[in-house]
Symmetry: C2
Subunit: 228 residues, 2 copies
DNA sequence: GCTGAGAGTTGAACATGTTCAAATCCACTC
DNA sequence: GAGTGGATTTGAACATGTTCAACTCTCAGC
């Protein structure tokens, strides 16, 4: 199950074709209904060849993650360059996630069980997804850093990670959302981003100091546990 | 894939034996390593017979899940009968979850992914798993109701559901926990139960009234979305 | 032009979840 | 005791993810 990197032009072509066919079929038929044989057939390549470049079917989905992440990052670049208000940056970023992923809504539902599986390379908390996870967390760091919000250092340290988790929560809700135009998800986004901003502004209340310290400590401890 | 209910004594025996062997093997070898053929072999029955009573391998997992829920409920019964302090009841209940599930830690990940899959009939938010979900939520309602804590009505209404979600979060953490004796999970439980109690006591602060109303509305709206 | 090494490709084979039509069992009726 | 109908059991067959040893292709070095 070694991951083979293409070393020749021919190899690159094959890898790209296999990945392209896989993403197309995933979108057309969903994850489970797309067989490795169907992918190979569409490319006009043998079954074994797919496994030369992608150790498992799940690894094809990892590439799909990266693809949507890049779409998302590109979509919000103008907003992040222009806007300084934290609430607006956050809301726009989260909204863009679900808008970007909208064409893959059905597909997202079909792979969810695999994604939630801790043993799967698709699990966002796992080692295989680490590079991508780091990229997404960095994106949220940029959302915070480029804003005019004044966030205390102890919170700022953990905030990008928390916002990443928040995004995952929204995506989870979105997967279940059957409302027309996915309106309910957009409502929840608006509601929750406001809530996040408000809770951040309340975090300085003396009465909440204790809870704040404990929550931050908890988050840090949990995050460290994941990387260990 | 019709669910066959045994109609004769012989059928009952078979069903029970198949389920028993499955639970044993799951515990011995984990979920994936346990094949349907191995289950049938251990019972001394043919492969097809298992499918007469359990439409899929996942349905065996659901039965397993129900089994652990019953163990859990039995384990905390004395505590709930004796103790009145809310924090103690909650902590004991959540601790008992991970203690009860400890023998199954190695393959709990696979179970969790099955349970979390929106497409699966076993999904806890879905209709098929509703009876089990209601039982667990009712258990947390009992944790709250039997305590001497004075919870405002609007919060009390949603609290059992939230505590159920909280339990799921703890279980998810526990699945990843590789620390000896699963000590990290126990720490997180102690920390978070305290936090829950503290946040509940803070919920009456005038400053937090607005957030409280919004959070409760959000939870209700999300919960309604699931059942719809 | 020949050769060899490494990249790329192949297709058969395997394990396992699942299906299904046929065979068998069993309690009941006459 | 023979017959009947439904419950139960069977085992072969199928689909699909994955593996692997053998084969082909390409091209640098001679």
């Amino acid at each position: 199950m070694a991951v083979a990197v293409p070393k020749t032009r021919r190899g690159e072509t094959s890898r790209a074709a296999i990945l392209g066919a896989a993403l197309d079929l995933f979108q057309e038929k969903g994850y489970e209904a797309t067989t490795m044989r169907a992918i190979a057939d569409r490319v006009g390549v043998s079954l074994g060849s797919s496994y030369h470049y992608f150790p498992t079917k799940e690894h094809l989905v990892l590439e799909f993650y990266r693809h949507t992440h890049e779409l998302h990052a590109a979509a919000i670049a103008p907003l992040l360059a222009r806007e300084r208000d934290f609430a607006t940056r956050l809301r726009g970023t989260i909204r863009a996630v679900v808008v970007t992923c909208e064409p893959f809504h059905d597909f997202a539902g079909s792979i969810f069980s695999t994604v939630a599986n801790p043993g799967s390379p698709l699990n966002p908390f796992g080692a295989a997804a680490r590079p991508l996870r780091d990229e997404v967390v960095a994106l949220y760091a940029e959302v915070v850093k480029g804003s005019d919000a004044r966030i205390p250092a102890d919170i700022a340290e953990m905030l990008p990670l928390v916002l990443w988790l928040y995004q995952m929560g929204i995506l989870y809700f979105w997967i279940f959302d059957r409302s027309p135009g996915r309106l309910r998800t957009l409502e929840v986004i608006d509601e929750t981003t406001d809530l996040v901003v408000r809770l951040l502004s309340l975090a300085n209340l003396p009465l909440l100091r204790g809870s704040r310290r404990r929550i931050l400590g908890l988050i840090k401890s949990v995050a460290e546990g994941q990387t260990a």
